[in-house]
Symmetry: C2
Subunit: 338 residues, 2 copies
DNA sequence: TTGTAGGCGTTATCAG
DNA sequence: CTGATAACGCCTACAA
């Protein structure tokens, strides 16, 4: 069912049909109606591939995310989807995580699709083949969560946020503060946050403790159990993301430690789910939807002007701190539970 | 950078370039190499739109999901992605939830993209305009989680699962068992699960209690608070999904009720996160990834034979029950916490 | 206001 | 083994 059949059925030329869909006012009301009826009864849907081929633009924004198993990206994607729709674009989300060929393969696929621009969260903007490919093709793109001087990024001041958090914990009397992250090498976000930890500890005159890496979520339990076992165990855990923080709270329970009375756990991300946990998760909040929205708007604006966003377009969005219930002073008395 | 430029640079015709990418053995090793080098230095990526237009098939599977904010669909999508890749297809996931125009709009968009088939989770297979559109176009599709006699579905026996759960709760001494769901009208899954509740209660000789609907997650707190307030409050909550169950556990805490000592809470979905909660969530588990995988394989198989899956292709996958820690006998003694 | 025709990048057919 | 060419569905000058 192409434009041809609609034209035949309506007794007009294909050009007229095309106009009905693209510049309706250039067609007589009567003709227009006839065409619309023909299209409706035929169930005609314009072929996006043909249109893209002809127009040399697709009206599609590619979205590359690490995974959708972490709600933080789900929330972000929602912001992206809404903003894209508002800007007249549709999106094609791809995950680099459980996709066979990672970031570069995903970008190649999106390039083949002729996306007009891309929103992406990469593992490391330095030496990213994916970004190189985009630059080579002069495809406009915006990074989310990443932070890099050579690329347009929408993110928060992760380093500052964690440094401030460490100060807050120190003020609560914590001295043995340990940072827990996923696979450090897999994410420049984790690096930023770790730098924040180091800075914060330094500024508070505390000794930074060894970073605890939990590369595979599945195998987190033993690592965390070991961490919480010794006499010198930390009194506070700064987690590189909320999912990790949730696992840490579980590990604490398993180890017989009460949160927050005996162990403070703080996350990073501000996923909504944290609000429903008990104890409610204390966390550094990022405006995830807003971040998606902002990135898309940046991109759409650039697209409209037919130029490509540079590093100077970067935006640092404000972060926050959700009080929650998993964070307390080092000598807090156990919460009585009835 | 089209096939043209590669051809020119390699000093061959476009036909030869095309062959190098599609039937490499029909080209001399030497020519092939020249073309590949030209393509590489040019950064050539075959135009998928042109290819789709010419081939009349895209190699793309459309995936329509209600939302990605619920991890259950994230897990499912992972299964879909892996299976699709294995079958030589790529996917385009769309959410009907926060998309402007819902299921039908999403399907239209996918049709415009010339997807070869679709995997979808719809609100209600009856009178679904989306499904009607697919049938009219004779696009192969498979439903996930939904269950309907007139469509090919991959799902679990939700009704039986909930009925069995109710029996289990009754055996634990529970009498006042209440079901909690989201917006009942928004999901035939919720309906199935509710039917299971009714059947289970009936079979146990218990009086079914009024269904508690929590249409908007955001506003769940007051509704649940009211539910847990009275003297006649339930001793067990059967939740239509895990996210809801998590909220119920929070509501219990807020109401001063200990789970599971004073209130049993059981979910439905088996999201992985449930394992990390304290108390660990007791839930009816669905094989979410497997479900995605199964649906895709069904679809891919049909695509290969060039036919479209019918209702008889439906598959009921086995479900399970995760013991967890949020479910106990009605007179369980409070857990001592140190 | 409406119709005709060319070309977007590919693949496939048919010659050579 | 390789090259020329038509056609996929659409948009848009240009012509009528």
């Amino acid at each position: 069912m192409s434009i041809q059949e609609v034209a035949r059925r309506a007794g007009v030329s294909i050009a007229t049909v095309s106009r009905v869909f693209n510049v309706p006012d250039q067609v007589t009301a009567k003709t227009r109606k006839r065409v619309q009826e023909a299209a409706a009864t035929l169930g005609y849907v314009p072929n996006a591939n043909a249109r893209t081929l002809r127009m040399q633009k697709s009206g599609v924004l590619g979205v590359l995310l690490p995974t959708l198993l972490n709600p933080v990206f789900g929330e972000c994607l929602e912001g992206i989807a809404v903003a894209a729709a508002a800007g007249g674009y549709s999106i094609v989300p791809i995950t680099s995580g459980y996709q066979i060929d990672g970031e570069e393969g995903a970008v190649k696929r999106l390039l083949a699709d002729n996306v007009d621009g891309m929103i992406l969260v990469v593992s490391n903007p330095d030496n990213s083949a994916a970004l190189a490919a985009l630059q080579a093709r002069r495809i406009p793109y915006v990074l989310l969560y990443n932070r890099h001087d050579a690329h347009p990024c929408v993110t928060v001041d992760s380093e500052g946020a964690v440094a401030a958090l460490v100060a807050r914990l120190a003020a609560l009397g914590h001295r043995r503060i340990t940072m827990v992250c996923g696979q450090l090498s897999a994410s420049d976000r984790a690096h930023q946050r770790y730098r924040g930890y180091l800075r914060g500890m330094g500024e508070c005159g505390l000794d930074a403790r060894e970073l605890v890496e939990v590369p595979f979520m599945d195998a987190a339990a033993p690592t965390l159990a070991a961490l919480l076992a010794g006499a010198d165990r930390p009194t506070a855990l700064v987690c590189s993301n909320d999912l990790l923080a949730i696992r840490c709270m579980r590990a604490a329970y398993v180890a017989g430690l009460q949160v927050p009375a005996q162990l403070t756990v703080v996350g990073f991300d501000g996923i909504e789910l944290g609000n429903d946990l008990t104890p409610m998760l204390s966390t550094i909040t990022q405006p995830n939807r807003e971040m998606g929205r902002c990135g898309v708007e940046l991109l759409v604006r650039a697209l409209a002007c037919d130029d490509i966003p540079g590093p100077s377009a970067s935006v640092i969005l404000p972060h926050g701190f959700r009080e929650g219930e998993s964070c307390a002073g080092v000598n807090a008395r156990p919460v009585k539970r009835k």
